[in-house]
Symmetry: C2
Subunit: 219 residues, 2 copies
């Protein structure tokens, strides 16, 4: 059944970086780029870039490099970004509202189409142009909207419970803003956005006792 070799997760997580870099390079007028040049731009080795891409096909030309428009097209196809994804936001507090209003999703093909809360004070209100639904109706609303991706912005205490219900309702990918590590079953993806955790690993290196390896960037 599988034809492609198994792709390491770490490779998949680099592809959006390549996409972003290539979009930028296209904007500044480049049409072709070598793995060497792209590596310099992204602070990665040329070998890594060639190997990563080789999991998915042969996109380059020897002696020349990669066509930027073509590689963009290929990466978008590989990542499933050649379509628009409808997204639900769960939790319409301060954070949820700012996620709904964040202008960075739409141009990348992620459209927030529905919002949910379980607080009756909030249900029925408008938030960023969306009517806030009762979370109890998640499944039917999400089904009607074709939602497979949810963004969770609820308090830590209820995050696992909310996520369980999302999974139960058929959500396949979750972007979790709740400061809590949560568990999802096989077949469901989750990514946590947690600025505090990001800060906490940097302070390690600010400590004088940390003879830590210096200057390592993180994507």
């Amino acid at each position: 059944m599988t034809t492609e070799p198994q792709v390491p997760g770490v490779v998949v997580e680099r592809l959006p970086q390549y996409l972003r870099a290539l979009s930028h390079l296209q904007e500044i007028g480049l049409e072709v780029i070598s793995s060497q040049q792209l590596g310099e731009f992204l602070q990665a080795t040329p070998a890594q870039i060639r190997k990563d891409l080789s999991y998915f096909g042969r996109f380059g030309k020897q002696g020349r490099g990669y066509s930027i428009p073509n590689l963009l097209l290929q990466l978008r196809r590989i990542l499933g970004l050649d379509q628009t994804w409808n997204v639900a936001v769960v939790g319409v507090g301060r954070l949820g509202r700012s996620i709904i209003s964040y202008p960075g999703f739409e141009p990348e093909g992620f459209r927030v189409v529905c919002a949910f809360d379980s607080n009756s004070q909030v249900i029925g209100q408008m938030a960023g142009g969306l009517l806030v639904n009762d979370f109890a109706n998640f499944r039917e609303v999400a089904d009607a909207e074709g939602v497979k991706i949810a963004i969770v912005a609820v308090p830590a205490g209820v995050a696992q419970d909310v996520i369980d219900q999302l999974v139960e309702a058929g959500v396949k990918a979750i972007l979790n803003y709740a400061p809590k590590s949560t568990i999802v079953p096989n077949g469901v993806r989750i990514q946590n956005v947690d600025p505090v955790v990001s800060l906490q690993s940097m302070t390690y290196y600010l400590n004088p006792h940390a003879n830590g390896e210096v200057g390592e960037a993180e994507a």
Copy 2:
């Protein structure tokens, strides 16, 4: 000069997860935990937890496990969280404002003490209880406040330029919300918060063509 062995970055990035888990376990009344139990809770192997901790000392007791209060204390010390860190926010647009007002930083020891923008419409305004300073005065204000950590929430187009100036002014750790991969010199840490990139790597697995390894969680 070095006494501790060099600690892999991937280990340092797991410590905040341990911290968060242990705080939770303490709240629900536990006082001691084995690497086995903590591993189940965090979906990690007991061997990994023991090895990670062993980079920093011997915190457990054979036959018994780890004292949760003691391990919390040790981890906070190791990560440099036994102090309050003053933080600057750069860029007071929609996103910057919601970062300034985010209530999750203060209880973890990160205090937003100053805010900057370069738009004269915004300079002098109040945002979340802070007066917005001119970014041109970053160095003197940041020095006066003892700021070593900055949170960047500026448009992608100016992110690299702003970050260069922060580095120049002596900032040692940057939490970057601009959707742009940026470069910092050795000795400066950077972590990117980019929800679009997180979504883009999950959509890969939502595609039918992705025979991808299913159910792999990400911290």
